[in-house]
Subunit: 196 residues, 2 copies
DNA sequence: TCAATGTCCAACTAAACAGTTGGACATTGA
DNA sequence: TCAATGTCCAACTGTTTAGTTGGACATTGA
């Protein structure tokens, strides 16, 4: 029998993504991750160090995924409304990232793993927004960084506090029609925020 | 010596508020709450049932506090921008609630303790916003519930994912000037969202 | 072929955890 | 005054936790 090294790593990370997104760093147990992956937990420590480093690895992977899935080019091409809509769609289809980011924000204070690289990633976004402002595609009297931040907020907030969303709109979160309605609201709000 | 019943309850709830806000339902231990309150943990179980019920009691108290501190009347009186600014100010001065709400949103799926009463509370907000829309003080072509939701999002998002805020704006969260800048951005964004 | 190294696992350890118990002592009301 | 009840606490229980260990077996390279 050949080694299953790569597959074992992959299965651990996949199981960890689901567990961490659902229960957070504190609520997740390494036993459950290992059981879900069908792998002995000793592997987890050999491959990833410990629970916290595994959390970082998982989050880093998910950040790479959204960067690939929602390219910044669509901002200039289709406008900020559609860009916000795409971010919303991504979160609706793949709810791991937004939950992981929130667990991280709540759990770790001070500098966060991979912060320099991630800051650079956000800087690209801000630069693109600033360029769009200079070309008068976006409102000019709001700082680009704030605009990026608000657009992400509009799209992600629904998934961060679903209980508040439910109590406010009186609708079920799993309802497909409601999901479409929320997307439309996000698109329209983003446009409104950024109209020149 | 007289009983300290009320004081004991108060100290437990105060300690629990701080611990739950910092570490969340899973990350908090009843031993630490009791130690912080300077009270035996058996009191916690007698007075509040268990850890989860104590979390509910704490969150419920904090919701009552913000409802009292940011009255809805200021919406019509001073406009939506200043209303959003007041929500921001409240969160900046008292960061417990926003963190508790997020812990709750991430931790509990499905119905949440006290949901009917809280839904009613949000309904008042929506009704007030809808009234403002009819009086042409707010934009009319966006559902009132969505508008409320977005205004809360703009004000609260900074405190929910401070690491993202820091990476985007490149500034320290504790910086007073940066805090003022963020408040101004929230006010301006809320106005933009709701201009008729 | 064989020593070195990597994979994998069952079983383990020490600590932390939520929740309980039994009893000392204070308060109340009849 | 005294039985009933409430407050408070140290010490406890049984379980779950993150992380480790020792050893069986697979793979590699010289």
């Amino acid at each position: 029998m050949a080694w299953q090294t790569a597959e074992t790593r992959r299965r651990l990370k996949e199981a960890a993504t689901e567990e961490f997104a659902e229960f957070g760093p504190h609520g997740t147990t390494v036993d459950r991750i290992a059981a879900r992956a069908g792998v002995n937990k000793e592997r987890l420590y050999k491959y990833f160090g410990n629970k916290e480093q595994l959390f970082s690895a998982v989050l880093s992977d998910e950040l790479a995924k959204i960067a690939a899935a929602v390219p910044l080019e669509s901002l200039l091409a289709e406008g900020i409304g559609e860009y916000a809509g795409q971010v919303f769609d991504y979160h609706a289809a793949n709810p791991y990232l937004v939950r992981l980011l929130h667990w991280e924000g709540l759990t770790f204070q001070g500098e966060v793993p991979g912060e320099p690289g991630r800051t650079e990633y956000y800087r690209h976004k801000v630069t693109a927004f600033a360029a769009a402002q200079r070309e008068k595609v976006l409102v000019g009297d709001m700082e680009a960084a704030d605009l990026v931040f608000f657009v992400i907020a509009l799209a992600a907030w629904w998934f961060a506090v679903p209980q508040v969303a439910r109590m406010l709109t009186g609708e079920n979160t799993d309802d497909e029609a409601e999901c479409g309605r929320r997307r439309a609201a996000v698109v329209s709000a983003a446009r409104r925020l950024a109209q020149p």
